[in-house]
């Protein structure tokens, strides 16, 4: 098994790691970086629980190798809230919308929302809901996730309309 050196940034902290060629980005984030908020629901690219942001785009970290993250800027759910603990808009939206039950699918949902709700993405409600088709939630029936998508698209987070 070959080992490779990577230099990359995780949640705004630059790092250097040695990774086995076969190790997925998800496993490396969980086991070596300590980002256990990256959840593995299927390890075959269907459920979306492992979604992280790589260079601004939502990516399934179970389908990407850690070695491919060389030079990349990666954000996980742990990197969303401000250092003082203030929740990111997408976290606030999901909380107000009661979009969380067991919370296993939640980090992936948040990362896709975060990628889409950046100013550059300008996603509307339709686009957000379409993107949610790549996430499986077994608990909520997607009701709160839908409300969160609407609140994010309407920029109504924090106004109490999410509930």
């Amino acid at each position: 098994m070959s080992e490779h050196a990577i230099a990359w940034t995780v949640n705004a902290h630059p790092r250097r790691d040695r990774v086995e060629a076969r190790t997925s980005l998800a496993d490396h984030l969980r086991l070596e970086v300590g980002c256990t908020g990256v959840h593995l629901g299927c390890e075959h690219g269907v459920c979306g629980a492992c979604t992280v942001i790589v260079d601004g785009r939502a990516v399934r970290s179970c389908l990407m190798l850690a070695v491919q993250a060389d030079g990349a800027c990666v954000t996980t759910v742990e990197g969303l809230a401000a250092p003082d603990g203030t929740l990111h808009t997408v976290q606030q939206a999901m909380r107000e919308a009661h979009g969380v039950q067991c919370g296993f699918c939640t980090p992936g949902v948040l990362m896709t929302f975060a990628a889409l709700s950046s100013d550059a993405a300008k996603a509307d409600e339709q686009a957000m809901i379409a993107a949610m088709s790549g996430h499986i939630c077994r608990c909520t029936g997607y009701q709160g996730i839908r409300r969160a998508a609407k609140a994010l698209a309407d920029k109504a987070v924090g106004s109490g309309q999410g509930t």
Binding site: L40, G41, E43, V46, L80, C102, L110, G141
Partner: protein, 909 residues
């Protein structure tokens, strides 16, 4: 809302009934939840399993040489190795199975994927690499896969005389019922073939087992109740529960799968005890789909009679369920029959029910395990309505039990006092204009668009307590800390249920403190008392009642202390928003923290003889059962070209009594409804003729996505129950009422083309086109089961015990016998003693729970008949009819309205 709850000595701010944000969310939203795979222990090793490549056969050899040579591998264990530490694989009811169940296959494999060897290595990857090198050679047998094969094929388990895992009821319709049905204006049958379901929680199974010295075992396990797992493991391993600590802080869904450990988890626990090293096993999704226990695969034929006005005249049900090879409790699902007509005025009902062993993965619970009753009944009612020309609302109105009809007793003897399915239906119809819809439907049809409306009504037993070993009351321990903040340890456990939120609401409401100031701890068997966790829609009902009463008792203590300190009467002391007020004396207002600091720190200032501190506990034992009722309505459009179904609207009218938090209640119902949509349209775990499970990834096992689930509309009809707080359970209902609602809507849309004659789930586009095109497009309409049928060669037909009885035994019936009664809760072992005098029989039956004498029995040759009256779980007379043949005894026990259960046994040595 909840005006029925009156607060004595409480201020105006109420927390019960509020849509407050959840306590669990901040950590889950920031990636700081703690699921089992997030836990890492020093020196921990990792486990992977080598599994059976065939569905049945004899193990010829297990070659672990290559695996053992792999770098990082510490051990490769087989059944022979782990047999060094015996473990009893118990059911949810803590009963032992009549078949031998071991964590790893021993000499014989009985389903494809059965764990055979356990590999321990330094990383999960190394363990998986090594497990792939374990060579398992089997002499492959011909598997029994379907229920149909199980009926006629040879027994899959050695020592069994058939594949019947559990059986109850009577096959033949008795004369009176037959006459009722024959005299009916309409006699109709509905058959449902329900596919096999994977519970598929997003977090797969996983466990960490750590032997901490010779006397302590700590488990981190994804489960439904750490307390139940601790109790189960202590019984399974014969260790005191004090030696076991089970921790499960966050759990990513369970839905019935994670009630207690099964093969893999037990193998890991035993291996950890033997090796003395902490072991972790995290199931991957391929294993979760193919090797986690599964649910639902069952068939039911319900027959019912109606008079010309559409009133029920009588009914008979036949239910068969595929239990797989090693079910988590052999089950013929008596609850299906108990509740099939519970909400309806049904004058007579009889049934037969069987669970079958097959060479497939074993059965476990899944949200509303008895849900078949609602599906078969509600679809039958619509079918009958179409035949009789009575619309779906009207046929229900004529038969449902309304509040005005109660108290009443169901045909199965269930007392009904406050069920409201009819009221839920009426309330629903206030929010939906049926006449308007019928006009739209007619117009759409004329344009070649097929709309349909489905309604369904049901009742559901929730919050059950007191009649089954694990179904106890629930415990609340609440304390006001010296700081004035409130902490509680509860017997509850959340796998998404939000119990830390709802319990905090109950406590804040009854203690007069702010919700923000209450913290609820759960998820650790060393904290709080026993409770079975999320099982049978119970936590809101029972633990909610415990939290309310415990907080009221604690508030009384605060009032006593405050009244003493402030020289006021306890009745004038009011707790509100964390402040203690004296009515009419605003200057005496004190923060609760001040009272608390004195209660702990200045004993001299307390009333004499009062215990210091502000701590209270209360275990709530509720009424044995609390009913939830509901009526749902769905509108669909079926595309006649493609067979695709689009759900346009869905209204839930649910009576769950007092609502603690509407967002949590709606979340529970919505999750259940999404699973219902999955069951009706998408999900399927088929097996091929060789016993291969065919859905091994989420590309094959289709879970509903956001596009498959509509926005749900809610109408809450709140009739408080008789429990403390008035709650009714809501965890399972969506998965029970959802399937018939959706199927009825689809059947209504398809009605211009014809009936869905036999309902085979899932209703794939191909199966819907079968109805539209009146031909077999799906290629499955002939086969009743999705399993491909292959003829199974019979080994000698299992011979019923009666036929073997030839010569009369010299020993006769007198003396001691070891017998097993197959009850709906699992096989019950007992010792019998018979004294015979001429034709008179007396004696006793003894079980661990006690011994019961009987007299007045009759002996005729080798036949024994006697009656035994029991009180638990309900008052019932058991009528035994047994036949002795040499040293064997066999026969039946008629258990009142439950029908007959099988008895087997042998002469005690």
């Amino acid at each position: 809302m909840n005006a029925e709850i009156s607060g004595h000595g409480l201020g105006a701010s109420r927390w019960i009934g509020k849509r407050v944000p959840r306590k669990e969310d901040p950590r889950l939203l920031t990636g700081r939840g703690q699921f089992v795979d997030d836990v890492v222990l020093p020196g921990m090793l990792h486990v992977a399993f080598a599994r059976s490549p065939v569905a049945c056969g004899r193990i010829i050899s297990i070659d672990r040489e290559a695996a053992q040579q792999m770098p990082g591998v510490h051990a490769v264990l087989t059944a022979a190795d782990i047999a060094a530490r015996p473990i009893r694989m118990l059911s949810f009811f803590f009963t032992e199975a009549e078949i031998a169940i071991a964590p790893l296959a021993d000499g014989h494999v009985s389903y494809l994927g059965e764990p055979v060897a356990l590999v321990v290595a330094e990383s999960r990857a190394m363990a998986e690499d090594a497990a792939a090198l374990v060579e398992i050679a089997c002499e492959e047998g011909q598997p029994i896969v379907s229920i149909a094969q199980a009926r006629t094929g040879a027994p899959i388990h050695p020592g069994m005389d058939s594949n019947i895992a559990a059986e109850i009821g009577d096959e033949e319709i008795d004369e009176e019922l037959e006459q009722r049905l024959a005299a009916s204006a309409l006699r109709i049958r509905q058959k449902v073939v329900h596919q096999r379901i994977s519970q598929a929680p997003m977090e797969t199974r996983g466990v960490i087992a750590s032997r901490d010295g010779p006397e302590e075992l700590t488990l981190w396990i994804t489960c439904q109740s750490p307390h139940l797992v601790a109790r189960w493991v202590s019984l399974a391993l014969d260790l005191p529960d004090s030696a076991i600590r089970v921790i499960a802080k966050d759990v990513g869904g369970a839905f019935g799968l994670k009630n207690h450990p099964w093969k893999e988890e037990c193998a890991v626990i035993v291996a950890a005890l033997l090796l003395g090293k902490p072991l972790k096993w995290i199931e991957d999704r391929y294993e979760a789909l193919t090797a986690s226990n599964q649910a639902r695969e069952a068939e039911m034929t319900l027959e019912a009679g109606f008079d010309a006005e559409g009133r029920l005249t009588g009914s008979h049900g036949i239910y068969d369920c595929n239990n797989g090879a090693f079910p988590q409790g052999a089950d013929s699902n008596i609850a299906v029959h108990m509740f099939v007509w519970a909400a309806y005025r049904q004058p007579a009902y009889a049934f037969v029910s069987r669970g079958w062993y097959t060479n497939t993965n074993g059965l476990a619970a899944y949200r509303g395990p008895w849900a078949m009753e609602s599906l078969v009944r509600e679809t039958l009612l619509d079918k009958a309505g179409r035949r009789l020309g009575i619309d779906p609302v009207e046929i229900r109105r004529r038969n449902l039990v309304y509040l005005a009809d109660q108290p009443a007793t169901s045909s199965m003897g269930i007392p009904l006092e406050d069920i409201t399915p009819g009221e839920c239906l009426e309330k629903l119809l206030q929010h939906f204009d049926m006449a308007q819809f019928r006009r739209e439907q007619a117009k759409a049809r004329s344009e070649g668009r097929y709309l349909g409306v489905g309604i369904a009504a049901y009742v559901e037993p929730t919050g059950s307590a007191g009649s089954m070993a694990p179904m106890t009351g629930e415990l609340a321990q609440v304390r006001i800390e010296p700081t004035g903040k409130v902490t509680a340890t509860m017997s509850t456990h959340s796998q998404g249920h939000g119990t830390a939120t709802t319990m905090a609401q109950c406590i804040a409401d009854r203690l007069g403190v702010r919700y923000e100031d209450v913290t609820v701890f759960e998820g650790d068997s060393s904290r709080g008392g026993f409770g079975p966790g999320a099982a049978g829609s119970r936590q809101g009902v029972i633990a909610g009642g415990a939290a309310i009463r415990c907080s009221e008792l604690l508030a009384d203590k605060v009032r006593t202390v405050a009244a003493h300190l402030l020289n006021a009467s306890p009745d004038s002391v009011v707790l509100s928003d964390g402040m203690v007020h004296v009515e009419g004396a605003p200057e005496m207002t004190r923060p609760l923290s001040e009272i608390a600091a004195i209660a702990y720190g200045e004993p001299d200032r307390l009333p004499p003889d009062l215990e210091t501190g502000l701590e209270m506990q209360f275990r709530y034992q509720p009424p044995p059962m609390t009913f939830t009722s509901a009526a749902h309505l769905a509108i669909v459009e079926v595309d006649a070209e493609t067979g695709f179904v689009t759900i346009l609207r869905w209204i839930s009218s649910e009576d769950c009594g007092t609502v603690i938090n509407p967002a949590v209640v709606e979340g529970q119902i919505s999750g259940g409804l999404a699973q219902a949509i999955g069951m009706v349209l998408l999900e399927d775990m088929p097996y091929d003729a060789h016993g291969n499970p065919l859905a091994a990834t989420f590309k094959d096992y289709l879970l509903p996505g956001i596009g498959d689930v509509p926005v749900f509309e809610f109408v809450h009809a709140n009739t408080p129950s008789r429990t403390i707080g008035g709650m009714r359970g809501v965890g399972e209902g969506g998965a029970i009422i959802g399937p018939p609602t959706l199927v009825n809507a689809i059947a209504d849309a398809l009605s211009p083309f014809g009936e869905i004659e036999e309902l085979v789930l899932p209703l794939t586009p191909a199966r819907i086109l079968d109805v539209i095109e009146q031909r077999d497009v799906s290629g499955t309409s002939k086969a009743n089961s999705p399993v491909a049928e292959t003829p199974v060669t019979l080994s000698p037909e299992p011979v019923p015990a009666e036929d073997v009885v030839q010569g009369v035994s010299a020993a006769g019936p007198a003396g001691d016998w070891d017998m097993v009664l197959k009850t709906p809760m699992g096989p019950q072992a007992m010792q019998a003693h018979f004294d015979v005098e001429g034709s008179a029989l007396r004696g006793y039956l003894a079980a661990p729970e006690g011994r019961q004498e009987f007299r007045g029995g009759i002996v005729e040759g080798n036949r024994l008949r006697f009656d035994l009256k029991v009180e638990k779980p309900m008052k019932i007379t058991l009528k035994y009819d047994l036949e002795v043949s040499g040293d064997a005894i066999a026969g039946k026990c008629k258990m009142g309205m439950f029908g007959s259960a099988k008895v087997t046994g042998k002469r005690a040595p």
